[in-house]
């Protein structure tokens, strides 16, 4: 999206961080025991993730089910508490903020859910659904209805639909209501959890367009979580690829397809069929076998080594640090793809690497541009 094209890593315009995720871990204990429960294991849902979202930017997070993307987004809005790490919103630490302190934060940080059917109260009319956040925000009673009408119009719904119930709308329209509800409190940031995956293709495009228009109009920032890499690519300025609770790669979206460094990213990209028969036939594709291992007992070293075609001994023993390359792209891999010798020489270990990652940077090796 255009507003934030400067928000990458270029130091020139010095983008302002809006949301900072600093080494956040979210573990779910697994309890068991004869009579009294003890923690016998932990699901490493989010395992030391560091990300920064800048003002006006759209940061995409992709990954397959179980990669921790939904847990992460829920932790950011503090529906879940992080096990470790800090979350800062506009500079202030909200990691352990209490309900009262969270209220102003939540007005600036809203969430839109995947299933518009399930996230709207079926017993309330649209007018009530949209009025509640306005009233909570302190909008005067008589201003509420005009605002609600305006909101409906803004998301492309007829203001006359005010008195309808959610079930009287189609899926796409319900998602518009969800977006209107998030917009009602004039947030700066909207966390979008698979906002279009339940919708039909033509409706998906409508909602994506709407999100882009709103972003331009209100200068919103988005955190866009989805499993569909092509949708994420379309909307995002930067994309973080997650696998089993860790960030594998973080890059600008234009570069992700052209120059994936991490074999997992490459696998994801090659798994996606391109809706263009000729290009699809021309392209060489490598289908990665196997399935993601369990997050209860994740693999040692690099989490992807069990499925990775390039894995060697080091991958099994040492967790690769997030390595920063010249263009600002980050990848946690000992044997990165599409990296030249020059780039390797200037590469450095990123501050955002998990604490548990090793110091070893990838070494120059004969890399075939596959």
């Amino acid at each position: 999206m255009s507003v934030a094209s400067a928000a990458g890593a270029s130091a020139a315009s010095a983008p302002t961080p809006l949301l900072e995720v600093d080494h956040v871990k979210v573990y779910f204990p697994i309890k068991s025991g004869l009579l009294i429960d003890r923690t016998v294991g932990r699901v490493h849902a989010v395992d030391d993730v560091t990300l920064t979202l800048y003002e006006g930017e759209t940061l995409g997070i992709v990954g397959e089910s179980g990669c921790g993307k939904t847990t992460l987004i829920r932790t950011l809005i503090r529906l879940l508490a992080p096990t470790e790490g800090t979350i800062r919103f506009r500079g202030s630490d909200i990691t352990s903020a209490r309900r009262k302190q969270l209220t102003p934060v939540r007005q600036q940080m809203q969430m839109v859910f995947q299933d518009p059917q399930a996230s709207l109260n079926p017993r309330k009319r649209v007018a009530q659904i949209l009025a509640t956040p306005l009233i909570l925000k302190g909008v005067a009673r008589r201003d509420v209805e005009p605002r609600v009408r305006e909101l409906l119009k803004r998301v492309g719904l007829h203001p006359e639909h005010l008195n309808r119930f959610p079930h009287e709308f189609s899926g796409g329209q319900r998602q518009r209501i969800g977006i209107a509800r998030a917009l009602a409190v004039e947030p700066r940031l909207i966390l979008l959890d698979e906002p279009v995956s339940a919708l039909d293709v033509s409706i998906q495009a409508q909602v994506i367009n709407l999100l882009e228009e709103l972003q331009q109009q209100f200068g919103l920032s988005y955190l866009f979580v989805a499993h569909d890499l092509s949708v994420v690519r379309h909307v995002s300025d930067r994309i973080a690829v997650m696998y089993l609770g860790k960030v594998m790669e973080l890059s600008r979206s234009q570069e992700l397809y052209a120059k994936p460094h991490h074999p997992y990213t490459a696998a994801l990209l090659s798994a996606i069929p391109i809706p263009d028969p000729r290009e699809n036939r021309a392209r060489e594709r490598e289908v990665v076998g196997g399935e993601p291992p369990s997050a209860i007992d994740p693999p040692s070293g690099c989490r992807f080594h069990t499925r990775c075609p390039r894995a060697t001994d080091i991958c099994r023993s040492i967790e690769p640090p997030l390595t920063e390359y010249a263009n600002g792209q980050l990848a946690a891999c000992h044997h990165p793809l599409n990296v030249g010798a020059d780039e390797l020489r200037t590469a450095s270990r990123s501050e955002t690497s998990p604490h548990s990652a090793g110091q070893e940077l990838p070494e120059a090796e004969p890399v075939t541009a596959s």
Binding site: V201, Q206, I208, L210, V231, P273, P275, D276, N280
Partner: protein
């Protein structure tokens, strides 16, 4: 072509359901043919009638509220009017089906092996239980389930989504069907698993020479595996042609809209997507004439009559569509910038 020349021939199929709101015309005149070893994709959005069409071929939509017209013939055998017993033999025997959600498509209380055996035994009265189990193990092995001999004793919940879909494929293959219907077989799966399952379907088509009907909304999947495409909208076929015809020379505005709406991982598509305005019509009271008319920016007065599904391009007689625009007009109108799409000149109000 004489009837029976095709493996499967559906002609003018109509399915309607009596509901409290009125008669829902879920499928309203669908015709297509399927040959051996061919993959025909039925593409459309929810409510387009693509799943109903597929399930009707197996008689799975039969109910007291449903009524059927037209015909569907498997090697000359009529399916629409077939008796329950005839249908029972065809189901899983000559036509097998794979469903969308592998999580819920297997019975949670029976072991994987016995669910496959159940199908084998239902079609082969001579086979013994242990022979059937051996066949089940071989099938599971063939569709890439590791340690098949142990895993026949597993329950569905002990399998991942991808593995369950492999079980569904193994089950579908168990009686060497002539036609395989796959209803959104990869929609519920993660992309890397989706690629594995599509590979599996490709291999299978090569090995068995079965005709495959792929029902999907995902044009990526279609581009990956289909030979021919049937595009459905609001119960009708709006366009039908080969893969390349549909992708590179689409004739119906709805097809343009679909192609324009998709995001691509290999392209920079900044800016607004040329999306289709509005929402699909109600199937109880669809608009007169072309069903796509209310959403079509190119509609004109003739569109209140239903256009016939016929070829408009002399060089490709098998490429048919339902639209009144001339081929010339279409070539100009479908171009939105450098891509094909539905040019919408006004903001979308849903």
């Amino acid at each position: 072509m004489s009837p029976g020349a095709h493996l499967l021939e559906v002609s003018n199929l109509k399915v309607s359901f009596q509901t409290e709101e009125g008669v829902v015309r879920a499928v309203d005149g669908v015709s297509f043919a399927l040959e051996q070893g061919e993959v025909v994709a039925i593409v459309g959005e929810s409510g387009s009638g693509k799943s109903v069409t597929a399930m009707t071929l197996l008689g799975l939509t039969r109910s007291p509220n449903a009524s059927f017209e037209g015909s569907a013939q498997l090697e000359g055998k009529e399916l629409i009017t077939a008796s329950e017993e005839q249908l029972r033999e065809i189901r899983g025997g000559e036509i097998a089906m794979i469903f969308q959600d592998p999580m819920s498509s297997l019975d949670p209380v029976y072991r994987i092996g016995s669910q496959i055996v159940e199908q084998i035994v239902a079609h082969d009265f001579q086979v013994s239980k242990s022979e059937a189990m051996e066949r089940a193990i071989a099938l599971m092995d063939r569709v890439g389930i590791p340690r098949a001999r142990e895993r026949v004793r597993s329950y569905p919940h002990e399998f991942s989504g991808g593995m369950r879909q492999r079980v569904m494929i193994a089950m579908a293959l168990s009686c060497s069907p002539k036609v395989l219907i796959a209803d959104e077989p990869t929609t519920a799966l993660d992309v890397t698993i989706q690629a594995q399952i599509l590979d599996e379907l490709r291999t299978l088509r090569k090995e068995t020479d079965a005709g495959i009907i792929l029902v999907t909304h995902d044009l990526g999947v279609v581009a990956d595996i289909a030979d021919r495409i049937v595009v459905m909208y609001a119960g009708r076929v709006v366009e039908q042609g080969t893969l390349d015809e549909i992708f590179y020379n689409p004739q119906h505005p709805y097809t343009w809209g679909l192609l324009g709406s998709i995001t691509r991982v290999d392209r920079d598509t900044t800016g607004l997507l040329p999306s289709i305005p509005g929402t699909p019509p109600s199937l109880v009271s669809p608009p007169a004439g072309c069903h796509f008319r209310p959403r079509c920016p190119h509609a004109f007065d003739r569109c209140t009559d239903v256009p016939a599904l016929e070829a408009h391009l002399p060089e490709t007689p098998q490429h048919v569509d339902r639209c009144w625009l001339s081929a010339m007009q279409k070539r100009d109108l479908r171009q939105v910038g450098d891509r094909i799409g539905l040019a919408a000149d006004e903001p979308v109000i849903a």
